[in-house]
Point group: C2
Chain length 158, copies 2
Amino acid sequence: MTDADKTFMKRAIELAREGVDRNEGGPFGCVIVRDGRIVGEGNNRVTSTNDPTAHAEIVAIRDACSNLGTFQLDGCIVYTSCEPCPMCLGAIYWSRPVAIFYGGTREDAAAAGFDDDHFYDELQKPNDQRELRMVNLLRREAQDAFAEWTAKVDKTEY
Amino acid sequence: MTDADKTFMKRAIELAREGVDRNEGGPFGCVIVRDGRIVGEGNNRVTSTNDPTAHAEIVAIRDACSNLGTFQLDGCIVYTSCEPCPMCLGAIYWSRPVAIFYGGTREDAAAAGFDDDHFYDELQKPNDQRELRMVNLLRREAQDAFAEWTAKVDKTEY
């Protein structure tokens, strides 16, 4: 890692603390960098915007994609003040950056009262063994939507 | 499951197909129901809005929370045309509904060219064994943000 990596991580941590100071949400911040330049930033805004998906990484990914006019973060690096939760790690995989640097760990988040680590455990379980009830219903009808997609000539894949 | 469950699932599948017809994104739809009434809807809009997080479930959760003025989907049921990817299942856990009904499976999604199943495999790996490079950096400085959160008197927990 380089001094630049540390500078970007310090900015992510600064965003986390500023968000707490402004009562916007939990203590999490994130910056997204391409070619040595910040192209997106975010901090947790769950409680202030009534959006449970407004974690720092999601906010930063949406900001970067909006700024870059793309739905893929090719060549980008994510700096996040804490190890991403499963939602955010999933979002990072979908946006396809080249690397993640993270500050705190999921254990640090758990010690501060956040459920990231617990949710990782839940996601590893088979669907029928999770705390959250999951029921499969109308699979055949649902497959028609996939068939329509597969047959579609002018689709944009992602 | 009831006839009402089937009706809501059919609506989720309809949203999936309508989104494909309108070239908004992948073949996925979702409705969120409370007390027998739809309180939020969504379809995949990744490619049309340049937002890799705009999966049907995320769009529907944000819509429901906005409509209900809350960041927790207490008492709600999620009906989604396909088994949620890790990002969306994480978002569903954070929003805390009581159940999920899903139509297609992660295998159906994989057969149609989507990476959900692969990402589940990736998330189960230790951080240093994933395809995506993950580096821990400045953990101690990052912990200061958690300390500030823990000491904060007027915080809103989630």
